[in-house]
Every structure is written in structure tokens, then in C-alpha cells.
């Protein structure tokens, strides 16, 4: 009989887990209180990036994930995921920044990332501001439409036998030796399970607690701006090198850097700020203005372009800014797949395959648990307690 897996969360990570687990023949039920991809998934730009990642455990997962996005594209149709292998262009604002960026790119190349230094950035992006000393082109960077992709992955999982349960998980049912045998929902139902995957994203800390396996996942607020629809003006994901610094930053408070990119609908997306303000959903005009200012410095034509919309989401981050993926030693049967911060879209298929490999006890689609030990939840437990 197939292993019964309950996946908590129908965001991009949960649906990718469902897609891979169902493809592996497991008996999958996805539980979410909200529509597919309605949480953080719907509040991001759809980044599938290698360019912003330091060599290390996250980059290893990102490279796997990048391959698996292409694989999903071939299987389900790139259009059904909104998958666009547009490439990224990281630009430096001055000579010092360019030197740092070049050094970063060398280390990435050594880790298997395609990174091509560019002197004349305006050959790649003609509307960039003059005077930019150079940058690095990352042809592997891509974009997906997050909600569209989550829906497509879940739909494919359902075709492979997965079920979807709308409701909120309130706790775990445990059997002998504290092993999980099911989850309880707010409607009073018990969904039997041999394993439970915590793919609750920003709410992964709370879901982990309910499952008896708390993890330190915190929200980090981010705003994204959306412009009026335009003819194609920006071809790549274009961002300033300080984005790399902001992503890795451990400082509190507001950080903005600038990412500008087009979409299939013609709108331009401008991201992204990062603030640690808990689940404070307050609009910040100062942050939005700062994003606009930076985008206009990068692409001066944007000064005459209208902002139509701003949205904000809460990106889930762990204290060490790495996702937590793998079985929790304190709660047998609980597997975490959360804490991906702003990289959840990009890392989703790799995470789905890795979770499936953990469930199967053997490698799955290039995901070998032995190659991703740096993401295991045990790293928070050594120093005594992972609740936050």
C-alpha cells in the first residue's frame, strides 16, 4: 500500500511536493485553508534565480530546482507554468561594486553557475541608465507565474491521484512512539497519514508547533510594485548588485534594492523591499517611494510610467536564511519544507523532489537527501530547542 502523505499548504512549495510525491506513486492529500497559492506565493515576482545565491546548500538546491522547473515545463507545458527562461542581468552601480560582483560571479562559476561578465550592459538592456560600469549576465535565471504554476502543479498531482482538502490543520494525531498517524482539521476531521509535510510557508512556524515540531520561521515583509502594461522594454530580470547583499542580510529594518522585470501581461514588476516587522500589513509609502526611486535610477524611462498597484507579502525566513527541508527528529513522520524566504518559487520543485526522496528513502529526480544535509531541521536543535 502506498505511503499516505498529508501536505499542509497549497502554495508553490506544497503543490510542488504534491506533484513529485504523487508522481512517485505516494497517496497524497494537500490541505490548505485558503485557495491554491493565495498566500506568499501570490505576493512574489516569480523569481527562479541562481544569480543571487552564494555557493552553499541553497545554491545546490537552486541548481537542482532550476533543472526541475525545465523538466516540469516539458511535462506540463512551459506556458501552463508561465515559465520564461529570460535570464538575469545583475548590474553594478560603480567600479567597486563591479569588482565585488565579479568576485562573487567567479565563486558561483566554480559552483556550476553560468555567469557571464558584461561590459556593455545596454547591449542587453537598451533602456538602462547610462553610466553603469558593467554587470554579469546569468542566462539560467528564469521566471514563472507563481499562482498559475501552483495551480498547474496541483492539477497535475490530482491527475496522478492526489486529493485536495480545504481546511485548517489544528494538530497531529500520534500513535506508538509519538509517530504521526494523521492530522486533525478545524472541521473536526482526521486525515490519516504516515507522514505529514509542513509546507505552510510563512505560517510554517505555527503549523510546526501544531504538529509537535516547532521550527523558527519568521515573516519578513516585502513590497512589490506593478506598473501599467507597456510594450516590451525590459528583457531580463535586471537588478542592482545590492540585491545580493539585501537577500543575505541579517540586519533588521528596511532594506530595498531594485529588481525590474517585464511580465507576459506587459506590466513591469519592481521589487523588492525586505523588512522584519512581524505580520504588520501596514502600507508604507516611504518603502514604496524608495523602490520607485531606485527603479527610476536604473531605468530612467520609468519616471513617466504609472504605478498601478503595490502588494506586499510575508516571506518566511529562518534565522540562518536557509530553508528547512527534511524530517524532524522530534516528531517522527513530520517532514518540514518551509522557510524559503524570497526564493520559494525558484526552490519549489527541488524542495518537492527532495521531500519525496526523504519520504521514499531513496533519491528522486536528482534529489539525493545525502547531498542536502545542510537544510535538515536538526541544525536548529543542536543548540537546544528550535522554537521561536
Amino acid at each position: 500500500m502506498a505511503l499516505k502523505v498529508v501536505i499542509v499548504g497549497a502554495g508553490i512549495v506544497g503543490t510542488a511536493c504534491a506533484f513529485h510525491a504523487a508522481s512517485a506513486g505516494l497517496d497524497v492529500t494537500v490541505v490548505d485553508r485558503a485557495p491554491t497559492g493565495a498566500g506568499t506565493t501570490s505576493r512574489g515576482e516569480g523569481n527562479v534565480l541562481l544569480s543571487d545565491k552564494e555557493p552553499g546548500p541553497e545554491l545546490v538546491l537552486a541548481r537542482l530546482s532550476r533543472t526541475l522547473w525545465d523538466e516540469a515545463g516539458r511535462e506540463l507545458g512551459a506556458a501552463s507554468l508561465g515559465l520564461e527562461p529570460k535570464g538575469g542581468l545583475v548590474v553594478a552601480s560603480d567600479a567597486r561594486g563591479l569588482a565585488a560582483l565579479g568576485e562573487f560571479a567567479l565563486r558561483q562559476q566554480a559552483a556550476g553557475v553560468r555567469a557571464e561578465p558584461v561590459d556593455r550592459v545596454r547591449d542587453l538592456e537598451p533602456h538602462l541608465a547610462p553610466g553603469i560600469p558593467g554587470g554579469v549576465h546569468y542566462p539560467q535565471d528564469a521566471q514563472v507565474e507563481p499562482v498559475v504554476a501552483a495551480v498547474a502543479l496541483l492539477r497535475a498531482a490530482v491527475r496522478r491521484g492526489a486529493r485536495v482538502h480545504r481546511g485548517e490543520v489544528t494538530g497531529a494525531v500520534t500513535g506508538g512512539a509519538g509517530r504521526v498517524t494523521g492530522v486533525r482539521t478545524s472541521a473536526g476531521a482526521v486525515l490519516p497519514a504516515d507522514a505529514v509535510v509542513n509546507a505552510a510557508g510563512t505560517w510554517g512556524g505555527e503549523v510546526g508547533r501544531r504538529l509537535g515540531a516547532p521550527v523558527a520561521v519568521h515573516p519578513r515583509r516585502g513590497f512589490v510594485l506593478v506598473t501599467e502594461p507597456l510594450p516590451p522594454m525590459v528583457r531580463h530580470k535586471v537588478y542592482s548588485a545590492d540585491y545580493v547583499a539585501a537577500v543575505a542580510s541579517r540586519d533588521a529594518g528596511l532594506e530595498t534594492s531594485c529588481v525590474v522585470e517585464g511580465t507576459r501581461g506587459g506590466t513591469l514588476l519592481i521589487g523588492a523591499s525586505r523588512e522584519r516587522v512581524g505580520f504588520d500589513s501596514t502600507m508604507s509609502t516611504a518603502v514604496v517611494a524608495e523602490l520607485a526611486a531606485r527603479a527610476c535610477r536604473l531605468f530612467p524611462f520609468l519616471r513617466d510610467v504609472h504605478l498601478l498597484r503595490a502588494y506586499r507579502g510575508f516571506r518566511p525566513y529562518c534565522p540562518d536564511h536557509l530553508p528547512v527541508v527534511g524530517p524532524d527528529p522530534r516528531a517522527p513522520g513530520v517532514v518540514h519544507a518551509c522557510g524559503h524566504e524570497g526564493a520559494g518559487i525558484g526552490l519549489a520543485p527541488g524542495t518537492g523532489a527532495l521531500v519525496t526522496a526523504h519520504l521514499l528513502g531513496r533519491p528522486w529526480h536528482g534529489a539525493d537527501p545525502a547531498a542536502h544535509t545542510g537544510l535538515l531541521p536538526g541544525r536548529f536543535l543542536r543548540s537546544g530547542g528550535g522554537s521561536g
Binding site: P35, T36, G37, A38, S42, V147, V148, V151, R155, V164, R166, H218, P219, R220, L225, T227, E228, P229, S249, D251, A252, G253, L254, E255, T256, G265, T267, I270, E275, R276, V277, G278, D280, S281, T282, M283, S284, T285, A286, V288, A289, E290, A292, A293, R294, A295, C296, L302, R303, D304, V305, H306, L307, L308, R309, A310, Y311, R312
Partner: protein, 488 residues
């Protein structure tokens, strides 16, 4: 006005004007902001002051005496240095700041130039009104098809009649004054298609009897329409507009009890303009980001919940008029006064109305709200309205998303609300951000419950250049890592 304001009022329609005038009378300093080039809102829309001789529109208006009195009081307030009137200022965001409010506007007095302006006060009153609620139908995106309010705005604001043969359709009493105004200015109103049943009022006679003024108003329109031989056709609807590059005819059908067209009743009428409207949608954009408590009204809209002094659930934030539920100008005037009375009381200032008159205004508001509820129940959106859509009918005008696409998203996926449909189909992602298609997509996706608009953190588009120049933005150098918003 050089001193900081005690109160910012957003919206200078009947509610906002009445609120500002009452607050001024109570000694407060008031900033009054409106996107229009004159005060008055949609109800008292006028050409700009200097053009009123060239474009006479007084004959199209109602309650002009009250309008003049309010204008006079506002002028006096300005002369006394206590009113800061900001016309042609579009508010794009309102946020909490230092225990009070910051209202971010775009100054568009000399278009196409725009410049951001920030107005601050310890209290904020939102009286942003409403706009026509639309239900798509085949051909509704043809040039020459307008909202009823659009026809009215062209008339009242510019003295322009949008067509010579006009059909009006939808539901609600607003169809009548627009038909009368068009006829008075020489248009042939070939049909007024009112979807509701004339007998629906009989189910709520109390509300009508307690509001005798409404009888007179209704009788006035009836007389005007009779004079111009305009017939109101109950239980009918415009189910299609036809034409190549502009509307040339409409198809009108009699409706069954559920609002579906009765087979065999369709007829065609030649027209060169059409006006449609199915009641109104309150403009909640500035209120939703504050997380105000909402409530539902009988017309199917979510509106901001207020106490009997028009205080929202957010301290210091007040609402009046259509944002509290669609109810018309008379109610908006009373609510504006009441909200300003609450502002005065909460600021420690003396009441302008005094206890007795304030009780009277409260009672008038209660009567008006009961009447609005009866009106909404008598003029519902027909449950089967979507039966006149074809799969090709455009639902989202901006992104050109068809009814078939919306229905497919709902059928295939768990897209049971308009936000999810937006993510999957782009319906509501264009320039208007779902203001036109939102209620219809909500009906098609959810099928029940009140329509709560998507939260719009940017209430009106503005250029990134103007936004980038926002003056009170902390500089990046000093702000990075420098705020004390540490996660606890």
C-alpha cells in the same frame, strides 16, 4: 492655511462638504481634498467656476440651495484661514503616521504635470463616494455604451449630450434623473429598461412612508419623463449592444422572475448611445488598507462598519456617505454632519448642532439608512443576469478577459473568489484594477455573499517619477538597517 490641520476630509461631495463645513463651524482647521476641479462630487458635478456662464447646468441639479450654502461656508472657512481646499488632488494612499494620519495625494492641477503632496492631521474622514456598478453584457465594450453616471457626468460637467437616441438600462432610481436630464437637453430616450418589478416596493412600504421627500422626488421625475414621453419599462433589460466600431442598436428583453431573458420577447432598438448601471459600488480603497471592520449592505456590497457617530473601528478614522453604504445625497449630507460632530466631540471641541439637533440628524440618518435598504431590496442585481453572457463577452475590459475564460478558471480550479480568478486569468489586473469587473467576477466566481473589493494599496495610478520624488521619504543611506522595526 499655514497651521497644521485638525482633520483631513477626503472627498468633497455632499458628505465631505457637510463634514468640512460642520468641522469648520466647530472651530477646527480642515484640509478638504478632492480629485475634481470643483467641490460637489458626482451629485453636484459642475463645470469649473469660471465656465459656468458658458456651460449652464443649474437646471440639471437638485438641492442647489444646500450646495450654495455649503460653498459659501467653505469660502468663509478659506478666507478665515482655516480651510485648506485641495482640488484636482488625487489621493493615492492614506496611512497612519505618528499617532495621526498622512494622506498622500497627487497634485494634478496642471495636467499632465503631477507632484506628490502629503497632508497630515490627527483625524481622517473618508467620504469618497461610489461609482456605478456594472454587469457585463455582449457589446458593453462598444464605444457609445457608457455608464449611467458617465452620461450624467458629461451632461452636468460639460453640458454635453452623449447621443441623440439613447437607451438606458439597469436598475435603481438613478436611471430616472438621468433619463429626465437627457430628455430635457433634447435627446430622444428610446427606452428606460428597469430590471426590477414595480411591485417590489410594496414589500417595504414602511421605509417609503417614513421618507415622504422621496415620494416627491420620484413624482418629479415621473412628471418630467411623462412630459418628454419617456416610458420606463419594468422587468426589462438591455441584454446586448450591437455595432461594428460603435453602438448602433441594443437588444431589449423582458425578464423572467429570476432575471433571465424571457424567450421570444427580444426586440431591437436603434440607438447611438447607451447608459447602464446596476446601483453603485462604494469607493473603499483608502479604508481597506487600515483593516477597518466591514459590514454588508442589502445591495450586496461590503461597506465600512461605523457606529452611530460614523466612527470606523480604527481610532481617529471616520466615514460618511456611500462608503458606509449607498444611500444618496440627502443621507450623505446628514452623515457628513454627524461624522464631523464625532470628530468635534473626540477632539474635545464643542458640538455645533447641540444635543437636540444632533438627535434629529441621527434619526434622519436612521430613516435614510432604512430607506436605502428598502431601495436595495427593491432593486436587486437579477440572480440570473449572467444568462445573457456569451463565452465571448468581455468581462474585464482592461485585460480583455472573456466570460468563457472566467468560467473555465472557476470550473477547472478552486477559483471561488475574484482574487483567485484575477491571478489565473488577469481579470482585474489592468488599469482599473477590477473596479469595473470586480462585482461581476465576484458573482461569477463566488456566486454568493457580499462583494469585498480587492485591497488596493495604490488608490489611483501615479507616475513612478512623482512617487520617486516623494519628499518625506527617508534617504536610503540613512534608513538601511536604521529603523527600529526589529521583529520581536
Amino acid at each position: 492655511m499655514t497651521e497644521p490641520a485638525d482633520l483631513v476630509v477626503v472627498g468633497a461631495g455632499p458628505a465631505g462638504m457637510a463634514a468640512a463645513v460642520t468641522a469648520l463651524a466647530g472651530g477646527l482647521r480642515v484640509a478638504l481634498v478632492d480629485s475634481g476641479t470643483t467641490v460637489g462630487g458626482q451629485f453636484w458635478r459642475h463645470p469649473p467656476e469660471h465656465a459656468r456662464a458658458a456651460i449652464p447646468t443649474d437646471d440639471l441639479h437638485h438641492r442647489l440651495r444646500e450646495h450654495r450654502a455649503l460653498c459659501g461656508a467653505l469660502s468663509a472657512g478659506r478666507e478665515a484661514g482655516r480651510l485648506d481646499a485641495r482640488l484636482a488632488h488625487h489621493v493615492w494612499s492614506a496611512v497612519h503616521e505618528d499617532g495621526g494620519f498622512a494622506v498622500h495625494a497627487v497634485d494634478r492641477r496642471t495636467p499632465p504635470r503631477e507632484r506628490t503632496v502629503v497632508l497630515r492631521a490627527p483625524r481622517l474622514l473618508v467620504a469618497t463616494g461610489a461609482y456605478d456598478r456594472q454587469l457585463p453584457f455582449p457589446g458593453w465594450d462598444l464605444p457609445g455604451v457608457l455608464t449611467v453616471g458617465g452620461l450624467q457626468a458629461l451632461l452636468k460637467g460639460g453640458g454635453v449630450v452623449a447621443g441623440s437616441r439613447v437607451a438606458l438600462g439597469g436598475t435603481g432610481p438613478f436611471l430616472l434623473p438621468v433619463a429626465a436630464a437627457l430628455a430635457a437637453r433634447g435627446a430622444e430616450v428610446v427606452a428606460v429598461c428597469e430590471a426590477a418589478h414595480p411591485g417590489a416596493w410594496l414589500r417595504h412600504p414602511g421605509a417609503l412612508l417614513r421618507n415622504p421627500g422621496k415620494w416627491a422626488e420620484g413624482a418629479g421625475y415621473a412628471a418630467a419623463l411623462a412630459r418628454h414621453r419617456v416610458r420606463v419599462r419594468p422587468r426589462t433589460a438591455i441584454v446586448a449592444a450591437e455595432g461594428d466600431d460603435r453602438v448602433t442598436s441594443v437588444r431589449i428583453a423582458a425578464l423572467a422572475a429570476d432575471g433571465s431573458p424571457r424567450p421570444g420577447t427580444e426586440r431591437r432598438a436603434a440607438v447611438d448611445a447607451v447608459g447602464v448601471g446596476w446601483g453603485f459600488v462604494p469607493q473603499l480603497d483608502l479604508l481597506l488598507p487600515f483593516g477597518c471592520r466591514l459590514t454588508e449592505t442589502a445591495d450586496g456590497n461590503a461597506v465600512v462598519a461605523v457606529d452611530d457617530g460614523r466612527r470606523t473601528s480604527v481610532p481617529g478614522l471616520y466615514a460618511a456617505g456611500e462608503t458606509c453604504g449607498v444611500g444618496g445625497a440627502a443621507l450623505a449630507l446628514a452623515e457628513g454632519r454627524l461624522a464631523a460632530e464625532s470628530v468635534l466631540a473626540d477632539s474635545g471641541a464643542a458640538s455645533v448642532l447641540g444635543p437636540a439637533r444632533r438627535a434629529g440628524v441621527r434619526a434622519a440618518v436612521a430613516r435614510g439608512r432604512a430607506f436605502a435598504r428598502a431601495l436595495a431590496l427593491a432593486h436587486p442585481v437579477p440572480p440570473a443576469w449572467s444568462s445573457w453572457l456569451t463565452d465571448e463577452t468581455v468581462v474585464c475590459r482592461c485585460e480583455e478577459v472573456s466570460a468563457g475564460t472566467v468560467r473555465a478558471a472557476r470550473a477547472d480550479d478552486d477559483a471561488r473568489d475574484h482574487r483567485q480568478v484575477k491571478h489565473l486569468t488577469r481579470a482585474g489586473m489592468g488599469w482599473c484594477q477590477g473596479r469595473m469587473c470586480g462585482p461581476a467576477v465576484h458573482c461569477l466566481a463566488a456566486g454568493e455573499g457580499a462583494y469585498t473589493p480587492a485591497e488596493r494599496l495604490v488608490a489611483t495610478p501615479l507616475t513612478l517619477g512623482a512617487l520617486a520624488d516623494l519628499d518625506d521619504r527617508p534617504s536610503a543611506a540613512t534608513d538601511t538597517g536604521g529603523t527600529d522595526k526589529e521583529c520581536s
